[in-house]
Amino acid sequence: MTRPPGEIVADGYPRKRPRWIELATSADHKDVGRVMIAAALGFLFIALVELLLMRLQLAIPENTLLTPVAFNRMLSLYGATAIFLFAIPLALGFFYYLVPLQIGARGTALPRLGQLGLWLYLAGATVLYSGFFFTPTEAGVNPLAPLSELAFLSNNGVDAWAAATGLATLGFVLVSIDLVATLRRLRAPGMAWRRLPVFSWAAAICSWLMLAIGPIMLAAITMLLIDRNFDGIFFADGSGGAPLLWEHLSWIFFTGAYMLILITALAAIAEIVPAFSGRPLVGRGTVIGSLAAIAVVGTLAWMQNMLTSPIGIGWMYYAMVMSLALIVPFGLIFFNLISTMVGGSLQLRAPLLFAAGAISMISIGLASEVSHSMVAVAWRLHNTVDATAATHFALVGGSVFGGFAALHYWYPKLTGRTMGETLARISFWTMAIGTLVAFVPLFLAGTDHGQVVDAYKFFSSTEVGTENLIATIGAFVLTIGILLTLANAIVSRSGGAHAGHDQWGGDSLEWFTLSPPEPHNFDVLPDVRSARPMQDIREAIAHSTARAEAAPRETQPVA
């Protein structure tokens, strides 16, 4: 049988599957990254609910809204959710989505590994929250042994925590392996390390950092599970075990993760500030070197969290040297970011607004950490709400303000739409006011009255009632601000203004692809000749356009 000419033969082609099946089964780095970012933002919402429940309990002295056990469960779930299910996966999600685009690759080197990493992370999240079907963990943000041992918490909560964070951490390690391999093997022709965008450099630094700290946490978690389920004695005292071992191993991970979150945020800001200043990043090499120094020196300062433990004074001074040394790389990054703005032509759009907010919040948090770094001050302020406030300024600044800056900046690339600018501004100012009102009072309650962390109630005799009530109000304002941006992200997916492929005039290669990019990313792999490949491409186009216009038309176009 002969077909009429021009008919398209469609037999034998698989039918297009629904979008959600595509997303769930895809190993494409863009799909994996998108699911990771969306899941992380979802868990931000859950973490906020838990935070608000705790803040409501602490709104008035000797409150009985939550029982002590319920409070400890909220506290433990909040910590695990905010760190393992929100902050780290948000950072890795952006890396995983953007690195191949920034280095001019058509995908990642080990896509199935990255896909497995995503699903291990989601499996970990499921395990953590399946705890509600039996008993959620109640051992705290960092479940210090021996409290987390079977003898003191004999229900399954800590096991669920250990399995959940173990699965998620394994997922992060796998994603990091894929990122390291991609960055080493799949850079476009001419994309030398010295031309790599700052955000991709941060991806390399953070992946290596995760490869260093992830297995340490996995080892600690495995030991805890052996202790609890197979009569192990790793962290039990009196039989050869050591409770301090858990402190060392877990604090190495948590300190490293803190640095990872800050490095990611600062690197994203280092992409955003030049794009909205109209000039390249000042001190590019210094910024990249400083990010690497933060990863190494910052993680080596883990004993900063153990200054009240029975460790030698020499180790305490070592921790102090390491943490104070961080002033130099962080200071240099802030200097270069602000230097880029000075003498630029600033477009104060939402990404730059959130980036500036992130710089401000991180600076408040880190400057407070400077005083915590001094050993004798830590003897006063360790485990007070002052430390909570400092950590939250740095991490809310990094993960939420920095994360939202990245979200507003790369949203056009992720979805092909732009997020609403007015809503972004309202959200930003609500969040900024909320953060200050929520955490500045805690500085006062911690330094002046020594209010301790993690406690399910405080007594009216300690005179911190006003501070806590204001902090609770601030937490609600902050939450409203965050929800506005989350709503903005959801609504803009279908309602946002259409974005061009080069929405902001960025310098790196992700802006060379379509918005959203095709599955294979690039039709033609660009030839990279500088650290600002998009600038070169724009100049080349302008040049050839000018030449074409200048040249007289010799032939008529074919009709």
Binding site: G278, P310, L332, V342, M374, A376, G450, V452
Partner: protein, 232 residues
């Protein structure tokens, strides 16, 4: 929170140094940021300048930051070292604690502090110490990690099972000083409080003697009840 022991004086001073250093950093960064954001807006006609910051600028800024960090490090070392000094017992202090500190064992247990005095007397919740006397607490734990924290008298320290940690203080005034545990230790953690009652040397002597004889009397009574068969 007024300090009532030589060590906490030093901690207070260092806290102020930390506050000043943090304020300098916060004000410098945020003032520069706000200045840049206001002054160099494209609406105000600011044209992008070519990047001029060379290696020299980076080096100079790095050197300035290093000097700042080194200054804080030195101050931190000096005052931490002072805060660690063991003060000597004063004139009004306990005579027997002249040559070496009065050693008291503090045991953290879910959710109470127990204090064992040198003469085998013990007390729960409330620690009684003589004024102007150097006291060294040996912190131990029978279950999970606890943190002993009476901020007016001393820096906080952890009681970790299997380890002994130390707190030294010399209370300069009679009175009652509140404290609490500062590491999550389970359900009743928030209620795990303690207080230190500072009394004169004579009152301390009579307190531990009375406590010792009361405990002995209670034990004798229990033993006699058991011997008479009234308690199984």
């Amino acid at each position: 929170m007024a300090p009532h022991s030589p060590g906490t004086d030093q901690i207070d001073t260092l806290l102020w140094i930390g506050f000043v250093a943090a304020t300098i950093l916060i004000v410098a960064i945020n003032a520069a940021l706000i200045f840049a954001l206001r002054r160099y807006r494209s609406e105000r006609g600011s044209e992008p300048q070519p990047a001029t910051s060379g290696r020299h600028t980076q080096f100079r800024v790095g050197a300035a930051l290093t000097a700042f960090a080194a200054a804080i490090l030195v101050l931190g070392l000096i005052y931490t070292d002072k805060a660690r000094e063991t003060p000597a017992t004063d004139g009004a202090g306990l005579a027997s604690a002249r040559s070496q500190p009065l050693r008291i064992e503090a045991t953290g247990q879910q959710w109470l502090w127990r204090y064992d005095y040198p003469n085998e007397a013990f007390s729960y919740y409330k620690l009684v110490v003589p004024v102007d006397t150097t006291v060294e607490l040996d912190l131990v734990s029978t279950d999970v990690i606890h943190t002993w924290d009476v901020p007016t008298l001393a820096g906080k320290r952890d009681a970790v099972p299997g380890k002994v940690n130390h707190v030294v203080f010399r209370a300069d005034e009679r009175g009652v000083f509140d404290g609490q545990s500062a590491t999550l230790s389970g359900q009743a953690y928030a209620a795990m409080r303690t207080e230190v009652e500072v009394v004169s040397a004579e009152e301390y002597e009579s307190f531990v003697k009375r406590q010792r004889s009361d405990i002995q009397a209670a034990q004798d009574r229990v033993v006699s009840l058991i011997e008479r068969g009234e308690v199984p």
